[in-house]
Subunit: 421 residues, 2 copies
Amino acid sequence: MNPSIDKNRLFQSIEDLGGIGGYLDERTGLRGVNRLALTDADAEGRRYVVATMKSLGLDVTVDRIGNLFGRRAGRDAKLRPVMMGSHVDSVPTAGKFDGCLGVLGALEVVRTLDAAKVTTRRPIVVAAFTDEEGSRFGTDMVGSAVASGRLLLEQAYALRDRKGCVFRDELERIGFLGNAKVPIEPPHAYVECHIEQGPILRASGFDIGVVTSVQAISWREVTISGKSGHAGATPIGLRADAGLAASRLNVKLREMATSGRYGKEMRATMGAIAHEPGLVNIVPGRATLTVDLRNPDDAMMKKAEADLLATFDEISKSDHVEIAWRQTARTPVVPFHSKIQALVAEAAAVRGLRHEKIASGAGQDAQEFAPICPSGMVFIPGEYDGVSHNPREYSTPEQCANGINVLLDVALRLADEEGGP
Amino acid sequence: MNPSIDKNRLFQSIEDLGGIGGYLDERTGLRGVNRLALTDADAEGRRYVVATMKSLGLDVTVDRIGNLFGRRAGRDAKLRPVMMGSHVDSVPTAGKFDGCLGVLGALEVVRTLDAAKVTTRRPIVVAAFTDEEGSRFGTDMVGSAVASGRLLLEQAYALRDRKGCVFRDELERIGFLGNAKVPIEPPHAYVECHIEQGPILRASGFDIGVVTSVQAISWREVTISGKSGHAGATPIGLRADAGLAASRLNVKLREMATSGRYGKEMRATMGAIAHEPGLVNIVPGRATLTVDLRNPDDAMMKKAEADLLATFDEISKSDHVEIAWRQTARTPVVPFHSKIQALVAEAAAVRGLRHEKIASGAGQDAQEFAPICPSGMVFIPGEYDGVSHNPREYSTPEQCANGINVLLDVALRLADEEGGP
């Protein structure tokens, strides 16, 4: 039997990293985390990861998009490594678990192997990827997508935040513009442990989710142009209220999600909106907003997107506005490798953990590796309906330890695999 | 026959003041105006007004809320003055006419009386009131309401903008914290010329609006609290999307306005909204927004407000959110004095101008004087459906001159009235 990780040591590391960029949510009294990508808080979180890697004797490299890699030698240095990873950047209103569990859990796996004096055939690499969340620069999975070769380095460098700050400049400013080349050499395999960020495992009483795929994701930034005017003096019949058009769109998004026309798991969200000029007594002349669509079925997603564009046309006509949009993210359904799924299920079974197949509702760094090597994920349940991107996000020490023990088992199997470079 | 004002001189002064705080609207190529209250641009506009007053030999005073007064002596210094006025602050996306026409027109009246060597029995005062728009500190008519005694000076001083800047500090910072006492002594009468800010006069081919009243106005700041969560992983059935609740409210506001249940002239606007955290991939946990209701009938307004609160309750239940609100402005229908209405109609008739009774859709400084002295207003039409709070706002030199000639006639009649102090 493989060694088991130290539950309390793992959870303490989650607490420690969670104190970096921590803030008090005044409305709830909860402590949240804000380590938005390439901010000073993100840098402090990264330094925590690098320091831990070094304390474990890992060979640390930083690549040109700021991804952190800590390499543990295997018996054969010529073989491709098994990579475990995730991210430590966060949304501005985060909890302690999203991404961090995967990175800190991988480090805990290394610590456990060290204590048990286990040497693997292949090297093991712990990775922390840059800007998974996309909250600041509008594009998610930046680090893993550049590492895997889907996103060009120069495109990532040119991204700007709302204040006009340039991605590359910010990466340099925080001291994490590395020189290791991208795209990276494909690893032998990639495996990631993550919180589910949803209610399914918890509600069904399962300990481990065997992740089958990441659902299709489609993001749009939408600009609605109408005509501003005096809120008191402009008759209703003469208005072209861009804000009202946005509201109609939001109501329509919910109707789409609950209609059943795009399957049972269609999700649609208007996360952000701004009116211009945005004053109590002025009919909004312009509204800018985001639309986030998710679907575990590619064909259903395409149908939903086509209907969204038709809805834009309908609202343009009914509300006398112009609607322009640009796609800010689009990924199809990404299936995970059947071998990794089988290894996750087997490891859970051996450890007596109840496990179930599940699709990921969120986008994941692992999806970027699926095209270049066998990749997969381990999900664990979360309390409070699995709420995430919220200070209330919480998984128990036991739930976390279950996931990381499975991660360890899967990584060990992969790292001792025969064959191939 | 009274002298007539100089159309081109008046229009040039509108152009001159309109260049202060001017900006290029990049989407339309139009030049707009941004002289938000108590900003540096507002200060520069005020200095233009003070300099013009002084160049005309007016006795200039600034009161404790920053209102500017320029006094032209009458034959009897003991008599109460006739006051003409309006405002020179603006919304952030304004044209050149809103408010400015009333102030610059009153100055043009003085210039015309000077040129014609007319001395009136009563003094004439030209007034420019502080922060009529309410765009920055959330409360409109600040200067005229403090001058008339409806709003307490200390309440006005304590107002804060979104950045936390305090009204009194900003007034002092821009150099317009005067020492003349408030409330002011009620004038003999108050008369104001303003653009209609709506389409009615232009569409009907009238030159002059005889303003009968200002419609009732009700502003609320509304906070909707739901539950933030991951946009990909949170099932629709578990969401409490504060932004969606706001969208439903906005759609409902439009239904209220067009239902006919509150008369034909009900107006309802959601001018501003913000989501928290306001990110593409997070279900909004909180939405803050404004609601602006207008109605020319007090009973209809009360009915609409009661139904708005019932709508809050309905949406709270249907969308699993909490809705809190505070009233940021509330004025009943303000009728203008029948004598002033008659004088405006008579002056228009004598000058051969087509005139019509009209209710003001917008709030006005004149409404604050109605409770303390006979008050009234002259409206002129605007092009482009009378659009206002928009760089496209435009009235022709002829339209402006018509209004200011009527203003001159009415002011002269009032300034020569017998009786009273």
